[in-house]
C-alpha cells in the first residue's frame, strides 16, 4: 500500500525493540470482545490510484458543472473566475500540508499571510480589525450574534428578512439551545428591503440588528440609519456580506456604522465546491477585539529585533479558556483564507473595482434583457450582480425544466423558503464576469418558451 512506508522487516525490528511479539500485544488494553478479528466485512479492500480515479471520475461525471453551460446561481455562493496562479500557490506543500502556526518560528509563511488577510478583510469591510477567518458566513453570522450578546448583555436579536434563510436557520437552531430570542420575518417580492421594520423593532432590549448587504433578493439599502438608531439604544449593528465583490462598487458596512461585519469569502479564490469548504469573514471595531471569536494573528518582533508574526490574544480561545472561551471554534479556514488573500492581492483594489464594475454592468444588461421577456418582471429597483425576477408561473418547475436543457437558470425562492407561497414565482438570478451575452440570450429564449 503506497501510503505505508514500513516494511515487514521494519515491523519485526521495531517489535523487537519494543519487546512485543506481535502487533496484537500492543492492543492489549482493548477488551477482547471489542477487537475485530480482521478487516471489517462488507467493505472493499485497497485499490490502485487508477481504480480509485476511475470510480471518482464516474461520480464526477454525473454532476452538471457550472461551467458546462449558461449558469445563473447565486444566493450565497458565486461563480467567479479564479486566476490560475491561486490554485498553484495553495498546492505548494508548505501551504497545503502546514499545521496551525503554533510554532511561529517555522510558520512565518502562514502567519504573514494571515496578517495580510486580516488587513484586507478589515479594509474591505471598513472595520478596524478582522480575525483569521471562521468556517463560513453562516457560522460567522451566528458567532457575531453571540458576541453582541456578550457585549450588550441583552438576548434579543432582530434579523432582517433579507438575511439568507440558511443563515437564519443556523441562528434559530443555535438560539433554541442558548436562549437568544430572534425576531425574524420572511422577505416579500418588493423592491424595498425591510429597513422600516428593523427601525421600528429597535428598543432598549435589543442586542443587535442583523442585516445582509446586498440581501437575499439582491437588494441594497443604506445601513446608516439603522446603525444610528441601534447605537442610540445601546444595540449593535451586524452587517452580513455574502458577496464581497460587491464592496468593489458600494460603500462598506463599516463606513455606514456597522459594529461587526461578517461574510462569506467564497467568491474570491475558493470556487463553488458544492457548498464547502468556504471561508467565514469576521471584522469589528477595535474596542470589541477581546470579545472576538476565532484565531487572531498579530505583529511582534523576534529576539534579533526582526519583525515577525504570531497568533495572539489566545486566552479568548477554547484551548486555554475552556468553558469560558468566546467560542468553541478550533480551526479557521486557513487554506481558503490563503486562496482569498492571493486572489485579492492579484486583483488589488483597482482590479476589484474593475471586477465589480464588470459584474454590475453585465447584471444590469442581463436584467434588462430578461425583464423584456413576457411573463417576467424585475422585482429590484437596485442590485449589484444578483436580482430577483417574478415569473408568471411557479419558478421551481421552470428551473428544473431549464436544467434539462443544459441551463442552470438561478435559484427558485421556494427552494429556500418551502412554505412561502407568496414567493413561489420568485427566481433569483446571479450574473458575474463569467456570464456571456450568449448565456443570457439562451436563458431569455428558453424562459420565453416556457412561460408562453
Amino acid at each position: 500500500m503506497r501510503y505505508l512506508p514500513l516494511t515487514q522487516t521494519d515491523r519485526s525490528a521495531m517489535l523487537s525493540v519494543i519487546g512485543a511479539d506481535t502487533i496484537d500485544d500492543l492492543f492489549v488494553d482493548v477488551p477482547g470482545e471489542a477487537q475485530l478479528d480482521g478487516p471489517i466485512a462488507g467493505l472493499p479492500y485497497h485499490a490502485s490510484e487508477m481504480a480509485v480515479e476511475r470510480h471518482m471520475s464516474a461520480l464526477a461525471a454525473k454532476n452538471m458543472a457550472a461551467g458546462a453551460g449558461p449558469f445563473f446561481l447565486g444566493c450565497g455562493a458565486y461563480k467567479h473566475h479564479v486566476p490560475a496562479s491561486v490554485d498553484h500557490i495553495i498546492q505548494r506543500g508548505e501551504f497545503l500540508t502546514a499545521y496551525t502556526p503554533y510554532q511561529p518560528e517555522i510558520a512565518q509563511g502562514t502567519l504573514q499571510m494571515l496578517f495580510e488577510f486580516q488587513t484586507q478583510v478589515a479594509r474591505l469591510f471598513g472595520c478596524d480589525v478582522a480575525n483569521a477567518s471562521m468556517y463560513d458566513g453562516s457560522t460567522a453570522c451566528w458567532e457575531a450574534i453571540v458576541m453582541a450578546r456578550r457585549i450588550t448583555k441583552r438576548a434579543k436579536a432582530v434579523l432582517s428578512s433579507g438575511l439568507h434563510p440558511h443563515y437564519v436557520s443556523v441562528a434559530q437552531t443555535m438560539a433554541k439551545f442558548t436562549g437568544d430570542v430572534l425576531d425574524t420575518a420572511l422577505p416579500t417580492l418588493t423592491p424595498e428591503t425591510d429597513a422600516d421594520r428593523l427601525l421600528a423593532s429597535i428598543d432598549g432590549e435589543t442586542s443587535c440588528v442583523v442585516v445582509q448587504y446586498p440581501d437575499i433578493l439582491g437588494r441594497i439599502a443604506d445601513l446608516s440609519a439603522i446603525a444610528a438608531k441601534a447605537h442610540e439604544h445601546g444595540a449593535l449593528l451586524i452587517a452580513v456580506v455574502t458577496e464581497p465583490v460587491a464592496l468593489g462598487a458600494i460603500y462598506s458596512p463599516g463606513e455606514m456604522g456597522a459594529d461587526i461585519v461578517v461574510g462569506e469569502g467564497q467568491s474570491l479564490g475558493v470556487g463553488l465546491q458544492f457548498g464547502g469548504p468556504y471561508v467565514g469573514l469576521f471584522a469589528c471595531k477595535e474596542k470589541f477585539v477581546r470579545q472576538m471569536p476565532g484565531r487572531l494573528c498579530g505583529e511582534t518582533v523576534d529576539a534579533e529585533g526582526r519583525r515577525g508574526f504570531v497568533l495572539t490574544l489566545s486566552t479568548r480561545e477554547q484551548h486555554i479558556r475552556r468553558e469560558k472561551a468566546t467560542s468553541n471554534i478550533c480551526t479557521n479556514s486557513g487554506l481558503c483564507a490563503l486562496a482569498f488573500s492571493i486572489h485579492m492581492t492579484l486583483l488589488g483594489e483597482r482590479g476589484l473595482r474593475d471586477l465589480a464594475a464588470l459584474n454590475h454592468g453585465l447584471a444590469v444588461q442581463a436584467a434588462e434583457r430578461l425583464a423584456g421577456v413576457s411573463g417576467v418582471t424585475l422585482v429590484n429597483d437596485n442590485f449589484f450582480n444578483e436580482f430577483t425576477l417574478k415569473l408568471s408561473k411557479p419558478a421551481r418547475p421552470i428551473v428544473r425544466e431549464l436544467s434539462h436543457h443544459g441551463i442552470l437558470g438561478g435559484v427558485s425562492l421556494v427552494r429556500l423558503y418551502p412554505e412561502a407561497e407568496h414567493l413561489e414565482n420568485g427566481l433569483v438570478v446571479a450574473v458575474t464576469e463569467t456570464t456571456t451575452a450568449e448565456d443570457v440570450e439562451a436563458l431569455a429564449a428558453k424562459l420565453e418558451e416556457l412561460l408562453a
Binding site: I40, N63, G109, S138, V170, L272, Q273
Partner: protein, 523 residues
C-alpha cells in the same frame, strides 16, 4: 485565583547574541526575507486583466463607494514571488515529520487533490436541482456508509465543518434527545485531560461542566465517575484513546453506567487513527462521535484549516441529527433532505448547523483516501500508527520521563514530561531546540494533567528511518536540557525567525497593517 497556569508554560526570551555574517539585503541565500503586500504593492496595480465593463446606468441607488479601500495589488510575477517566498518560511508534512500528538499529521495524498478538482466536484453549486448533482450526493452518501461501518454506528451527520463543530453537533443531539423525553438535565462530565474544545462546547450549549478525575494510570476513574452519575447528568465526553495516548479499558463499563442513569456518551474521535479498522467505537456503547477527516482520513491541514467533522450517531440519537443529509433510494438515486422535507422525513432533527451541505471538498478527498486504503489498508494504518508510537516510547523512555510507560503499551501517541530537566529548563526549550534539528516540535503543554507535557504522535506514514532520526534528535536535545546547556535557551538559531515576543503581541495587539506616520518618519 483559579488554577494558576496549570500547563506551566511561560514565555521566555532573551536578546540573541550576534550570529553569522550579515548581508545587505537581510537575505540568507535561499532564505529570502519578504515584506508585506502593503509595503510592496500599490492600489493602482493589478495582476488580473478584465474586459471593459459595459456602459450602463448604474442601479446602485447612489451607494457607490467613494473612498479608497486601501488594498494594494501586485502583478502576477510579483504575486507568485511573494507567496513562494512566504511558503519557504513554513514547515509542512511534505518537508518533514510533525510529531504532533492528537493532530495525526499524516501524509496528504495528491490523488485527493486531483479528485477534488474534477470540475464535476469543484464547479458545482450547492443549490442546483438535485437531479443535476447526483454524483456529489453519491460521494456524500458513500463516505457516510464507510464512516458508519468503520465505527459500527447507526447514522451520521455529515455537515459539521470541523471537529469542534462536530462536538457541538453531538452535544446538541444529546440535548435534543433529552428535551424530547422531557428530561432537561444540566451537567456534562468531562475528564481533566480533555481537549479545551470539550468543555467549551458543553458550556456553549448551556451545560455546566464538571471534571472527572483520572487514575494514576492516566485513565478515567470509573469509580469516581459512577459515584457522580445521577439524574442531573446529561452525559459524558470521553476521548478514546485518551489524550495521554492510552486506551480507556473501562469504556464499555463507562457507557453502561452512563446509560443506566439515562445519560449519553459523547466520544471525541480525534484519536481514531489508533483503532480504525481494528475497533468499532459503536461496540463500546457510545452514542455520538465526531471524526476529524483532516486527521484520520488525510485531508490537508492547510495551515490551520479547513477541517471537516462528521458525527456518527447511535440509534438513540440519529433521529435528532441536523439537516441536511443525503438519502439513497432503491433505484440508486439520491435526494437531499432539507427543511422542506424535514417535516415528514426527519421531524426530530435539532435543526441546521451551517449553510449548504458540509465540506464537500473534504468529502471527495477523504473518500478518495478511504477507497485507496480499503478495509485492509485502514486496519494496517492503525497497526502501523500504534507500532510507531510504541517504538518511540520505548526508545525514549530512558531519556525523558514517560509517566505511564510502566503501565503498558501506549496507543498511537506517546506522552512524556519535562521532569528531570536542569533548573530553569523546560519543555519549551526542548521544543525550540528540536526546530534547529529540522523537526516541527511535538505537542507541548497538553494534556494539562502532566507537567510540561510532551505528546508525540508519529502516524503510520513515517518511515523507520525518519523515526530513528527523530529519536536521535529528541534524545540529544533532552540531554542538553538535562545538562543545562545555555544555548538551548536561545534556540531556535537557524529558523527564519528566532523566538518571538508573544508578550508584546498580547499586550499591544497589532492585528492589521497601518500606514506609517509620515510626519514621524520625516523627523
Amino acid at each position: 485565583m483559579s488554577a494558576v497556569n496549570q500547563s506551566g508554560w511561560r514565555p521566555e526570551m532573551s536578546a540573541a547574541e550576534a550570529s553569522a555574517p550579515t548581508t545587505t539585503t537581510g537575505n540568507r541565500a535561499l532564505m529570502l526575507e519578504e515584506a508585506l503586500i502593503f509595503e510592496i504593492g500599490d492600489t493602482d496595480t493589478t495582476g488580473v486583466d478584465f474586459a471593459d465593463a459595459p456602459k450602463v446606468i448604474a442601479r446602485l441607488s447612489g451607494l457607490e463607494r467613494a473612498r479608497k479601500i486601501g488594498i494594494p495589488g501586485l502583478s502576477e510575477p510579483e504575486a507568485v514571488r511573494h507567496y513562494t517566498r512566504l511558503s519557504r518560511q513554513n514547515y509542512g508534512i511534505d518537508l518533514g515529520f510533525f510529531p504532533l500528538g492528537s493532530c495525526t499529521m499524516k501524509h496528504n495524498p495528491r490523488l485527493n487533490e486531483k479528485m477534488a478538482r474534477l470540475p464535476g466536484f469543484a464547479d458545482v453549486h450547492p443549490m442546483q436541482p438535485v437531479e443535476t448533482v447526483q454524483g456529489a450526493l453519491a460521494v456524500i452518501n458513500e463516505l457516510a456508509v464507510w464512516l458508519i461501518k468503520l465505527t459500527g454506528m447507526h447514522g451520521v451527520a455529515m455537515t459539521p465543518k470541523a471537529g469542534a463543530h462536530g462536538e457541538l453537533c453531538g452535544i446538541l443531539a444529546i440535548k435534543a434527545a433529552l428535551e424530547a423525553r422531557g428530561d432537561p438535565r444540566t451537567v456534562i462530565l468531562v475528564p481533566e485531560s480533555a481537549h479545551g474544545t470539550n468543555p467549551a462546547t458543553a458550556a456553549f450549549a448551556g451545560f455546566t461542566v464538571e471534571n472527572i478525575p483520572a487514575t494514576s494510570e492516566g485513565r478515567v476513574d470509573l469509580a469516581a465517575l459512577t459515584a457522580r452519575l445521577g439524574p442531573d447528568v446529561a452525559g459524558v465526553m470521553i476521548t478514546n484513546p485518551n489524550t495521554c495516548g492510552l486506551f480507556e479499558r473501562d469504556m464499555r463499563a463507562i457507557s453502561d453506567a452512563v446509560h443506566a442513569v439515562g445519560g449519553y456518551v459523547y466520544c471525541d474521535g480525534a484519536n481514531f487513527n489508533a483503532i480504525v479498522g481494528r475497533v468499532r467505537p459503536g461496540d463500546l456503547g457510545i452514542d455520538a462521535m465526531h471524526i476529524n477527516l483532516h486527521k484520520t482520513f488525510s485531508t490537508p491541514h492547510g495551515g490551520g484549516g479547513p477541517g471537516s467533522g462528521p458525527v456518527v450517531l447511535s440509534e438513540a440519537l440519529s433521529p435528532f441529527g441536523p439537516l441536511p443529509f443525503t438519502e439513497r433510494h432503491a433505484d440508486g438515486g439520491y435526494t437531499l433532505i432539507e427543511e422542506e422535507t424535514a417535516g415528514e422525513r426527519h421531524p426530530h432533527s435539532f435543526g441546521r448547523m451551517t449553510a449548504f451541505h458540509g465540506q464537500m471538498g473534504m468529502f471527495t478527498r477523504a473518500l478518495t483516501y478511504i477507497l485507496s486504503h480499503g478495509a485492509d489498508g485502514l486496519r494496517q494504518v492503525a497497526e502501523d500508527a500504534v507500532l510507531n508510537a510504541n517504538y518511540i516510547l520505548r526508545s525514549l523512555e530512558n531519556s525523558l520521563e514517560a509517566p505511564f510507560a510502566a503501565s503498558g503499551p501506549c496507543m498511537h501517541e506517546a506522552l512524556f514530561s519535562d521532569n528531570g530537566m536542569a533548573e530553569g529548563f523546560s519543555t519549551l526549550d526542548i521544543a525550540k531546540g528540536l526546530i534547529d534539528e529540522g523537526f516541527h516540535p511535538m505537542t507541548v503543554y497538553f494534556p494539562l494533567v502532566v507537567h510540561g507535557a510532551i505528546l508525540v504522535e508519529p502516524t503510520e506514514t513515517e518511515s523507520k528511518a525518519a523515526l530513528d532520526q527523530f529519536i536521535t534528535a529528541l534524545r540529544s536535545v533532552a540531554d542538553r536540557a538535562r545538562a543545562g546547556d545555555a544555548s538551548l535557551k536561545s534556540a531556535p538559531h537557524f529558523a527564519p525567525r528566532r523566538r518571538l515576543d508573544e508578550t508584546l503581541a498580547a499586550r499591544k495587539p497589532v492585528l492589521v497593517w497601518k500606514e506609517p506616520d509620515l510626519a514621524v518618519a520625516a523627523e
